[in-house]
């Protein structure tokens, strides 16, 4: 009946102990682990630069930029084309009207031609233009140069080849010009015309149109840029509405991780984030429930072990008294009965030790163990321990420098030393050496190091990780031994209670070595 819970508990405690070892390793390697921690936070901040807020803002800006830019560009293009179209149509129409009211003789006379051209030029719409005439070899204009430098050969060719009015926009030295070519015809009959060979050209600077177009461009830009700025506001609001639940979730997860399983998130709205929060709450609830059940089960198991130990102690005390009497009288009995009586007596003694150890372990598990620290001379304490156990012969050697003082619980330190030395004598081999020294550790307080070295064959490597487990037997064949199987576990708990660590290992030259490190609180001692 006892076996079931005991095994279960021992396994659980093994797990707990392994965790404890991990903690120890963690403490040892803290220096090594801080640096990766810093890297992680650095990564996080770099990730934050492209975090949700940035991405949402960028998306909003992108949408706003594309829509505002497209709208502005299309509007600008249409408006510009309208402005230019109006100017061109007006110019072409009015040019045609004006030249149609003019009379020429054929062949064209060079004399007076410039006056006629100037007259046409003056009436230019929407802006004054320069009029050029080309007929045969005659070149004349209303301006200073008889031949324009702006009119392109393409326009000339088109005007010569087809009897249609045509225009071309030309940009020369950054100035836009409208060039119009107008082949001239005359009537040979009321409904028939004949090309005269005369082509009139008008060249008009489009400066006003350029100003208008530039103004349009400015307007488009001035409209689009504030639009982008305004788009930031909904972007920020959207980012906030997403980020706040995420931040809450993160805080909740962190507080869960630190043990507050009753953490819950307020569920707002009915979106995906609310679903996430609800799921989180449900999972937390289930987690909390199962953890509570686990703890209750553990608590029950501990109390059971504790109760069993207590219940066993009273009858055992009676039995011990009886077996002592029986032991004394054993000599008077016949040999078989005497052997049986001595066996019962010995086993009863072991049972009493086991029950005591169980009760001690139960106290540790219930966290009822207290540290009654007192400043002691460590070497003196160890000597006293050895003396009390009658380990004063040459089986145990000591290397104890005087004058090392530390704050220790004398009773618990006595248990530690006694357990380690007894264990070494029992499983290792004499002689056993107990060493004592202090060691300075720069960032942390210096430590008191107690080493117990035996001269046996050492601990098998496969057993090393489990050496502090409860009821762990290093040699499976040796199921019965003098110890309760809890000695090293109790030692470990005592050292942990002191805030120290314990290591088991093998020396290269043979023999197991147990090293106990307990921080020296000398400042506290001094104060």
């Amino acid at each position: 009946m006892i076996t079931g819970p005991r095994l279960g508990r021992s396994r659980r405690d093994k797990d707990a102990q392994r965790d404890g070892r991990d903690e120890r390793e963690g403490r040892d390697g803290r220096d090594g682990r801080d640096a990766p921690g810093a890297v992680t936070s650095g990564e996080r901040s770099r990730v934050r630069a492209f975090g949700l807020r940035t991405r949402l803002l960028l998306a909003f800006l992108m949408v706003a930029a594309v829509s505002a830019g497209t709208t502005a560009a299309l509007t600008y293009r249409e408006a510009r084309n309208a402005v230019l179209q109006t100017a061109q149509d007006t110019a072409v129409t009015s040019f045609r009207e004006h030249v149609q009211q003019t009379a020429f003789t054929l062949p064209l006379q060079n004399e007076g031609l410039e006056d006629v051209l100037r007259d046409i030029a003056r009436r230019g719409k929407p802006h004054p233009w320069v009029v050029f005439a080309e007929y045969g070899s005659i070149r004349a204009s209303s301006g200073e140069n008889p031949v324009s430098t702006v009119i392109t050969p393409e326009l000339r060719r088109a005007a010569r080849a087809h009897p249609y009015g045509s225009f071309e926009r030309v940009v020369k030295d950054g100035v836009p010009y409208l060039t119009i070519a107008m082949p001239m015809v005359f009537k040979t009959s009321p409904d028939s015309v004949l090309p005269s060979g005369l082509v009139l050209y008008a060249v008009m600077r489009m400066t006003d149109e350029q100003v208008n177009v530039d103004a349009l461009l400015m307007a488009a830009r001035d409209g689009a840029l504030p639009g982008l700025a305004v788009a930031l506001i909904p972007g920020l609001i959207a980012a906030r509405s997403v980020l706040r639940p995420v931040r809450e979730l993160r805080q909740a997860a962190r507080s869960m991780g630190s043990g507050r399983l009753d953490t819950r998130i307020a569920v707002r709205g009915s979106d995906e984030l609310a679903d996430l929060a609800r799921t989180f709450n449900e999972s937390t609830g289930q987690l909390e429930r199962s953890v509570r059940e686990l703890r209750a089960a553990e608590e029950r198991a501990r109390r059971f072990a504790s109760d069993v130990s207590h219940e066993l102690r009273t009858p055992l005390a009676g039995m011990l008294a009886v077996t002592e009497v029986l032991d004394e009288d054993a000599d008077g009995l016949d040999s078989d009965t005497a052997r049986a009586v001595r066996l019962v007596s010995a086993e009863t003694g072991k049972l009493a030790v086991l029950v005591e150890d169980l009760m001690e372990i139960s106290r540790f598990d219930a966290r009822a163990a207290e540290l009654n620290a007192d400043e002691v001379d460590v070497a003196e304490a160890i000597r006293k321990t050895l003396h009390n156990r009658h380990w004063t012969d040459d089986r145990v050697r000591v290397d104890l420098p005087d004058g090392i003082r530390a704050r220790l619980d004398p009773r618990r330190f006595d248990v530690v030393i006694a357990n380690l030395v007894g264990n070494a004598l029992r499983h290792g081999g004499a002689p056993v050496t107990v060493g004592l020294r202090t060691e300075a550790r720069s960032p942390e307080p210096s430590v008191l190091i107690t080493e117990v070295v035996d001269s046996g064959p050492g601990i098998r490597p496969a057993s090393l990780p489990h050496i502090f487990d409860r009821f762990y037997k290093a040699d499976a064949a040796r199921t019965r031994s003098a110890g309760s199987g809890l000695g090293l576990a109790i030692t470990l708990e005592n050292v942990k209670l002191h805030g120290g660590t314990i290591r088991a290992g093998n020396r290269p030259e043979g023999g197991a070595v147990f090293t106990v490190e307990i921080p020296l609180h000398t400042e506290e001692a001094g104060g």
Partner: protein
């Protein structure tokens, strides 16, 4: 994998933005255009009166033909005409109310005057030898046949065009007649003038006809 996909998506977004931005940046200001047609030609006042003016076609420096107006009579006679309209009208009526085509062709063969030359006009025709036989007949179906006092074989296309257009516009105000030229060498060419904007697409067809009739002309 997912990261690569995200990166690819980001690249696509960037490309789209760039494509959207290119017309924004590139389309600013006033751009150049090609030559754009804008309506028909402009007609001016030439004060052409077919009773007193004849249209002669001369060669332009760029290899085309251009019409010039030439008064039928010297300006003194022109004044006389005003004072004595009856006699002149009588005279014109005898020749179907128009300047006789023979006279017009002779004026064309006479070459450009000084003011024509001043405008850069010239002729591709050889100077006429006086006293050559010149006869113009107009048939009822709209064909005009002209017998010319020169050899057609030596003439280039501009010269033929000068003759054709001059004869066509002398015969018809719209110039839409087929002119058949026959030279002293017996060679024969026919075609239309095709200078008028309305008959612009006729021009190639006319050249086609002329080209087709040329061999038959030479054989016949």
């Amino acid at each position: 994998m997912r990261r690569a996909r995200t990166r690819r998506r980001a690249a696509a977004v960037a490309v789209v933005a760039l494509v959207a931005a290119v017309p924004l940046i590139g389309g600013c200001g006033i751009q150049e255009t090609d030559v754009i047609e804008a309506g028909g030609p402009a007609s001016f006042q030439a004060f052409l009166d077919r009773d007193y003016h004849m249209l002669l076609f001369f060669r332009t420096p760029d290899g085309g033909v251009s019409p010039v107006m030439r008064a039928t009579q010297p300006s003194a006679e022109f004044g006389d005409h005003y004072f004595d309209p009856g006699a002149e009208e009588q005279n014109s009526a005898d020749e179907s109310g128009l300047v006789p085509t023979e006279k017009v062709v002779l004026a064309l063969l006479g070459g450009p005057h000084e003011d024509d030359r001043a405008a850069g006009l010239s002729t591709s025709l050889p100077t006429a030898r006086p006293g050559g036989a010149l006869k113009v007949d107009s048939s009822p179906d709209g064909r005009v046949t002209a017998r010319l006092p020169l050899a057609l074989g030596d003439l280039d296309s501009i010269a033929l065009r000068q003759l054709t257009c001059t004869i066509a516009y002398s015969q018809d105000a719209e110039g839409q007649v087929v002119v058949q030229l026959t030279g002293q060498d017996g060679a024969s060419r026919s075609g239309t003038c095709g200078l008028a904007p309305g008959s612009a697409e006729n021009a190639p067809a006319a050249t086609g006809t002329r080209a087709r009739t040329t061999p038959s002309g030479t054989t016949g």
